[in-house]
């Protein structure tokens, strides 16, 4: 290379990865720590304003949240949040905002529950059929937004929000008319119960084999395994595959991605289908492992919370897992809070604060990192310059 090259500090082989030193590691944990501190501070202020002592509140939350029963409930509730977070995050990767996870999983859960109740099949096949229906319905519903975007240029934000409204109406209508099982003397509307062959086994037996005694009336939803599996697939697909590269490239620069041969329209539709497919799984933890039907009481709002989970998890499958568990924990704490006379809405404030703090903290830490790297360079060149 010519002698005119600017002074290089690391003349070693180019292949070498950048050095990882203690400071870099410190920076890596600094962002989540900073976010936690800020979130705690803001939540504490909210608590003080609402007239409670933050320390007792946190103490109670921790104390009650750490018993086995609460942990199991947190994990069980974290599963659908995790899947919702993954679904949203797939779109985020290429700058697509699938706000429609809500409608996709509601409709998917309803139709899957109805289909599951309508057939009799051998155990494994029965479950597979229900999963297949849910994934297809979720994908199809999201696919509508993808097709609208590519053919008509409709923003997916708008179309998925509208599809949420339509899905809610459609689900209510179907449940009220064709899909409900009428029970004498009850005005609850629900699909018929799925036969035992179509239920997902719990993980209670393996846990007990490990010597864990489960508290009365609790169990660990087997869908945890599905969530882990989807997480691993997400990591492989997004982080390691050609498809994932195309996805990232499209997110970073649509024009460069297209010039590199990515078919932008096909990509948009594929990503919406994938996102919707994962969204279809969100309600299944409940359908297959808890209520075995879809009724008026079916959990709602997971899709919207999933957006927060995805933001908090910063599009990494592990990060999203932590985010989902944290959100589930906070939600679980709301019951505790109520008992000690703290307004339950506090947990919503906490969730919001955490997401905001994380976004801000990562930016701050990124800037500090850049400044620090420059200082390091300066120190290293000081004697030579």
């Amino acid at each position: 290379m010519s002698t005119a090259a600017p002074e290089r500090l690391d003349p070693g082989p180019l292949r070498r990865a950048p050095r990882v030193d203690g400071r870099a590691l410190l920076l890596a944990v600094a962002a989540p720590l900073l976010a936690a501190v800020v979130a705690l501070a803001v939540s504490s202020i909210a608590l003080v304003v609402s007239g409670s002592d933050p320390f007792t509140v946190y103490e109670t939350m921790l104390a009650e949240g750490s018993d086995l029963r609460s942990v199991l409930i947190t994990v069980n509730n974290g599963v659908p949040l995790y899947l919702a977070g993954l679904a949203v995050s797939i779109g985020f990767r290429m700058g697509l905002f699938n706000i429609g996870v809500e409608g996709q999983y509601q409709l998917a859960a309803l139709l899957a529950a109805a289909a599951g109740a309508a057939v009799e099949l051998p155990a494994v096949l029965h479950v597979l059929l229900i999963v297949l229906v849910a994934v297809s319905v979720g994908a199809a519903w999201a696919g509508v937004a993808g097709v609208l975007k590519t053919t008509r240029g409709v923003s997916e934000v708008i179309s998925t929000i509208m599809l949420n409204v339509i899905a809610a109406g459609l689900a209510a209508y179907l449940l009220a008319t064709y899909l409900q099982e009428r029970v004498e003397g009850s005005n609850n509307q629900a699909t018929p119960e799925i036969a035992p062959s179509g239920r997902f086994p719990t993980l209670d037996a393996p846990l007990e084999a490990l010597g864990v005694t489960l508290p009365q009336g609790t169990s660990l939803n087997g869908f945890v395994l599905v969530a882990v599996l989807v997480g691993v697939l997400y990591w492989l697909l997004v982080g390691r595959s050609r498809f994932g590269f195309d996805l990232k490239a499209t997110g970073l620069s649509p024009s460069a991605a297209v010039a590199s041969g990515v078919d932008a329209k096909r990509m948009t539709v594929t990503v919406m289908l994938l996102s919707g497919g994962v969204a279809g799984l969100v309600g299944l933890a409940q359908v297959l492992g808890d209520t075995y039907d879809y009724g008026l009481e079916f959990t709602s709002g997971l899709g919207l919370t999933g957006i927060g989970v995805a933001l908090l998890g910063r599009n990494s499958p592990v990060g999203i897992a932590f985010a989902a568990l944290l959100f589930a924990f906070l939600e679980r704490s709301s019951a505790t809070l109520q008992r000690i006379d703290v307004p339950t809405e506090i947990y919503v404030i906490m969730q919001g604060t955490i997401v905001l703090s994380v976004v801000v903290a990562y930016e701050v830490v990124r800037r500090v990192g850049v400044a620090q790297a420059e200082r390091a360079v300066r120190a290293a060149t000081g004697d030579r310059a």
């Binding site: 005119a4 600017p6 002074e7 078919d263 420059e374 310059a385």
Partner: protein, 502 residues
């Protein structure tokens, strides 16, 4: 000498792994055109960004009219009377010249845009500095030269007394360069100081009063333009003697590699922007396309890549690829050096090795089955860095950390990888310094000797004449003339391009 309008003293700026500027001094007088030259990565753009407040120096001081200043952002610099025109224009296409000029600095009266005052100011400035700008023209209808004058006017509108131009001539054809230089003379006469970066040393000497040479991040010297030669400057830049361009012999074979028949592209409004164009390129042949920007070159290139809808047939080797997707065409052997590396060639915030994968997702060494082969991609990026002399501290740094010319070398190196049979190259050496340009040309000639067919679009007429086996002139979407490069001079080609001699 009087107090300089701006003075940079002892400027040092470090980036991770690189010292971009080390103890740089630069002093510019009012009414002076001051050129800054240096190799790719010598630190020119960084120095200008510091002067314009976009980046803060680690050490050193900036003085304006003798008083020390500390810019926190570009708006501080603008307030101090310093303006910059970036290499890539930043005008909004769908607005008029007037709207673009006032954008962000709107004169208001009673809360509303005061169009009358704005128009009067624009006309006055345009008149005074000889810019010849029509405030009511739509920017999308302007050529590059006009757009550049609008950018300059925009800066003057904000009261600039110091004008920074980063590689302003890279996108201009000779006539437009002459016009720009006439405008600069007007500015100089009015006492405006101009700092200007260029890799074209003969131009530098034509327009500048003083030249500051940067090498490896530091000032080598500042010399008066008078009495200096391009060769002497180049030698100051690289610190050694320049290689002389070698003579070349034809490597054109009889095998047609690209056969284009009746290719047409229409604009969204239905106007033909490429109009029934037919041509062939044989293996080992370079077909050069000369033309003022905006005469259909971009559309032709994008149609060949399948990035733009077109009619007509395109055959690559013995296959009809007219209906193929962009990816199929690229994997079928078309390499593509885009005109705008930031828009189409790079993922700026991704690492160099990921950029090596871009456009080669489906091929070795980037791909292994359905996966991206990270190790192989890294290794091959290191190879490109070696072979093409990309100055970088490593292959994991983000692409935005490279200087403009080094980004370009990476893109060209990537597109020459994977044994392409056809290279579609738009301005392949844009923003690359003289030494590296010769190196890239060598790479192109070697590949051509091995049978590569090249479609070359360039605003650099010497490059076109020097590399091409056949030259065509493109005007309003058509090929209007075919020239033999052997008997063509930049001057005659220049006039053919504007339709004067066609």
């Amino acid at each position: 000498m009087s107090t300089p309008v701006v003075e940079l003293a002892g400027i040092t700026k470090r980036f991770p792994g690189v010292v971009a500027n080390r103890d740089v001094d630069l002093s510019v007088q009012a009414g002076e055109v001051h050129a800054v030259v240096g190799e790719n990565g010598a630190g020119k753009s960084t120095l200008m960004k510091i002067l314009y407040g976009m980046q803060r120096p680690d050490e050193g001081v900036i003085r304006v009219d003798g008083a020390e200043v500390a810019f926190k952002s570009a708006s501080d610099a603008i307030d101090a009377g310093i303006g910059m025109v970036h290499q890539h224009f930043m005008l909004a296409d769908n607005l008029t010249v007037l709207e673009n000029v006032v954008l962000g600095a709107e004169p208001r009266r009673g809360g509303r845009l005061d169009t009358r005052t704005a128009r009067a100011r624009i006309l006055e400035l345009s008149e005074r500095y000889g810019l010849g700008v029509d405030p009511d023209a739509l920017v999308e209808e302007l050529g590059v030269g006009d757009r550049q004058r609008v950018e300059i006017l925009k800066v003057l509108f904000r009261g600039a007394r110091v004008l920074i131009l980063d590689e302003p001539t890279a996108v201009l054809v000779p006539q437009e360069v002459d016009e720009l230089f006439a405008s600069l003379a007007g500015l100089r006469a009015e006492g405006v100081a101009v700092v200007f970066i260029s890799h074209k040393l003969d131009e530098v000497l034509r327009v500048a009063d003083a030249v500051t040479v940067l090498r490896a991040g530091t000032t080598v010297t500042t010399v008066p333009a008078q009495g200096t030669t391009p060769r002497a400057l180049a030698e100051l830049m690289v610190g050694s003697e320049l290689p002389t361009p070698e003579t070349r012999e034809s490597t054109v074979t009889d095998v047609v590699q690209l056969d284009v028949q009746h290719l047409s592209v229409r604009s969204p409004e239905g106007r033909p922007v490429v109009d029934d164009v037919s041509f062939r390129i044989r293996r080992g042949e370079v077909l050069g396309i000369a033309g003022v920007e905006g005469n259909g070159q971009v559309e032709l290139v994008e149609a060949l890549l399948g990035l733009r809808a077109s009619t007509g047939t395109v055959r690559l080797g013995d296959q009809d690829v007219s209906g193929w997707s962009t990816r199929a065409r690229r994997e079928g052997g078309i390499g593509y050096v885009p005109e705008d590396r930031h828009r189409q060639g790079l993922l700026l915030s991704a690492s160099l090795w990921e950029n090596r994968v871009l456009g080669h997702q489906g091929r070795r060494p980037a791909r292994r089955g359905p996966w991206i082969d990270r190790r192989a991609a890294r290794a091959d990026t290191a190879r490109i860095v070696e072979e093409y002399g990309v100055k970088t501290p490593g292959v994991s740094v983000p692409a935005f950390a490279l200087s403009g010319g080094n980004q370009q070398k990476l893109v060209v190196g990537r597109e020459m990888s994977g044994a392409p049979t056809l290279l579609v190259a738009s301005h392949p050496t844009r923003g690359v310094d003289v030494g590296a340009q010769a190196q890239l040309w060598d790479h192109l000639r070697t590949a051509r000797a091995q049978g590569l067919a090249v479609l070359l679009v360039s605003a650099d007429l010497e490059e076109l004449i020097g590399l091409s086996d056949t030259l065509v002139v493109m005007l309003r979407g058509r090929f209007v003339a075919t020239l033999d490069p052997a008997g063509t001079t930049p001057e005659s080609l220049g006039s053919a391009m504007t339709g004067a001699a066609a």
